[in-house]
């Protein structure tokens, strides 16, 4: 299973929504009562054993940004 499919399953499991829909919507609409993004980030970190830096978390805007970030961390 490729990384995107793996992440999609995780997103469905945690948020009950598709990855392609969730990430851009969350990044664009982050507000005072947005908890979904944090839940997804924590789930990804636990599943892949990685940790995002504050800068990475503030700059991810779409699924590709997220995939690139995870790939670079897994490869490191």
């Amino acid at each position: 299973m490729d990384l995107k499919a793996h992440l999609n399953d995780l997103c469905l499991e945690v948020l009950g929504a598709d990855l392609d829909q969730s990430v851009p919507a969350m990044a664009a609409g982050l507000t005072w009562d947005t908890l979904a993004y944090v839940r997804l980030v924590v789930a990804i970190e636990r599943r892949f054993g990685i940790a995002f830096s504050p800068k990475e978390l503030l700059t991810i805007e779409n699924v590709e940004d997220l995939l690139d970030c995870i790939r670079s961390k897994i490869a490191a």
Binding site: W32, D33, V38, L58
Partner: protein, 476 residues
């Protein structure tokens, strides 16, 4: 130079004429010179010096950040830049805090607006341009934005006079490209800008200042009142601060618009919000967005392992910062803490609330919608008590005596206001509501009717204005 002063009514047309008659390449520098004159007109020379110092230092740190590739050096430059800007702001706004704990305790205990009375320092506008410089440095550090290569444009971004004293807090990426652009003359922008300015002036001098006639007597001596007068004054203050600040924002947006510049809209019917979170998406939007992006989100992500508790703590911290931004006074701190608590509590109860509404089948009920708007308005109004009261003791007195019946002085309080002001107030509030509800589009009206509206608006301002007063948010 407040927007509702005669000097501004002369200043704006003169600047516009100079700007309009000059060549495109001179226009930004006319605006910069006008902005510095506008700020210098406050007759507080150190404020202009502080503005130039913030411009120079943040510009230099951002340039150095842009040229540096070493992560360690970038982090050092970033920390130095942020510390410099915060030190300048603290020097202007919180200097008495450094004076010692005893002085601080004395200030919090006094029947005074707080530390501002202990110091001759005036910091009008400083919070706004410093916050813009901070956001610029953070964005450059995070590589969300390229450093601006031209000091003149950058200084104009911080100093642009329509938003210098009270915001909106603009992002460099939104404003600098507009300052550099040279769009052709637009009659629509000129007309819309002037109309928006007049509309804001009407909100301020006719409605907000008239509401102050009901608020100020009560809040300047709350212990002389019980019950209804306190309640009426509190509701009136909720409306006054909204109309005062949104009136200012309209005047700010209108002033900028005549120069073909669109500033951020700061308000979107905040008292129609169905939750406190929604209120903060509609109230002082540019400031709320700043706190959200640069305080709440980083903290929420830093404390993400603590799940809901981390988010709740980040909300509390963000709103305490928001309270402190308004000044060193217990009332502001409690106001911020209350909003933080409202939001932190919603992190826990919101999932259950959703399930309850679903189980009762009232998710789309209009009655539920109305109920939520009412509850949110009352939560926000309750917090305003601490924001408005001169001291913590006064605020606690108002809270304890809000529900103590009609109050012996109720009729006397109302009679003291006379009949004229309440009547004008009711008519004006009705007009504001009607304009909002009908989404009045002046541009679609026949010319004669449109001009009749313009004259009516100007006439109303002249006939019904309350003697000049300053804007509430000037103090921040």
């Amino acid at each position: 130079m407040p927007f509702n002063s005669l000097s501004y009514f002369l200043f704006l047309p003169v600047v516009y004429l100079c700007w309009y008659l000059s060549g495109e390449w001179v226009r930004p520098w006319i605006l910069l010179a006008a902005s510095l004159v506008f700020y210098a007109a406050l007759r507080v020379p150190y404020l202009v010096a502080a503005l130039l110092l913030v411009s120079l230092t943040s510009f230099a740190f951002a340039r150095a950040l842009g040229q540096s590739v070493s992560p360690g050096r970038r982090k050092l430059l970033f920390c130095c830049g942020i510390a410099t800007e915060l030190a300048i702001l603290a020097g202007l706004k919180y200097l008495p805090l450094l004076g010692g704990v005893l002085q601080l305790a004395k200030a919090f205990g006094q029947r005074s607006p707080g530390l501002t009375e202990l110091t001759p320092l005036v910091s009008i506008g400083a919070s706004y341009f410093t916050f813009q410089a901070l956001s610029y440095l953070i964005d450059v550090y995070l590589e969300l934005e390229e450093p601006e290569p031209h000091l003149g444009y950058y200084t104009l971004y911080l100093a642009f006079f329509p938003k210098l004293l009270q915001g909106p807090i603009e992002r460099a990426a939104d404003l600098i490209p507009q300052l550099k652009a040279h769009p052709p003359f637009s009659y629509d922008n000129l007309r819309f800008g002037l109309l928006l300015f007049c509309w804001g002036l009407f909100k301020k001098v006719v409605v907000a200042d008239r509401l102050a006639l009901f608020v100020d007597p009560v809040y300047s001596d709350p212990r002389s009142y019980t019950g209804l007068p306190l309640l009426v004054a509190t509701y009136c203050y909720a409306l006054q601060i909204y109309l005062d600040f949104s009136g200012y924002t309209d005047m700010s947006l209108g002033s900028a618009r005549i120069f073909n510049i669109e500033l951020t809209q700061n308000f979107n019917s905040p008292y129609l919000a169905r939750s406190v979170a929604e209120f903060w998406r509609r109230w002082h939007i540019s400031f709320s967005r700043w706190i959200l992006d640069y305080v709440f989100r980083p903290l929420q992500m830093r404390w993400r392992d603590r799940k809901n508790a981390g988010t709740a703590a980040a909300l509390l911290a963000a709103f305490l910062v928001s309270g402190l931004w308004h000044g060193a006074k217990w009332g502001f701190l409690i106001w911020g803490a209350l909003h933080g608590l409202y939001l932190a509590a919603s992190v826990y109860y919101k999932p259950y609330q959703k399930r309850l509404h679903k189980a009762l089948g009232v998710e789309k009920s209009r009655l539920l919608h109305l109920w939520q708007v009412l509850v949110t308005f009352h939560l926000v109004s309750f917090a305003w008590i601490f924001f408005r009261a001169a001291t913590l003791e006064d605020a606690l007195y108002v809270v304890r005596h809000l529900a103590s019946g009609p109050g012996g002085l109720w009729s006397g309080f109302l009679l003291a206001q006379g009949r004229f002001d309440p009547l004008v107030l009711v008519l004006c509030l009705g007009l504001l509501l009607w304009c909002k509800k009908s989404e009045l589009q002046l541009s679609r009206m026949p010319t004669a009717l449109r001009w009749a509206v313009y004259y009516a608006l100007v006439l109303a301002i002249f006939l019904f204005q309350v003697p000049a007063s300053t804007f509430i948010y000037f103090q921040f």
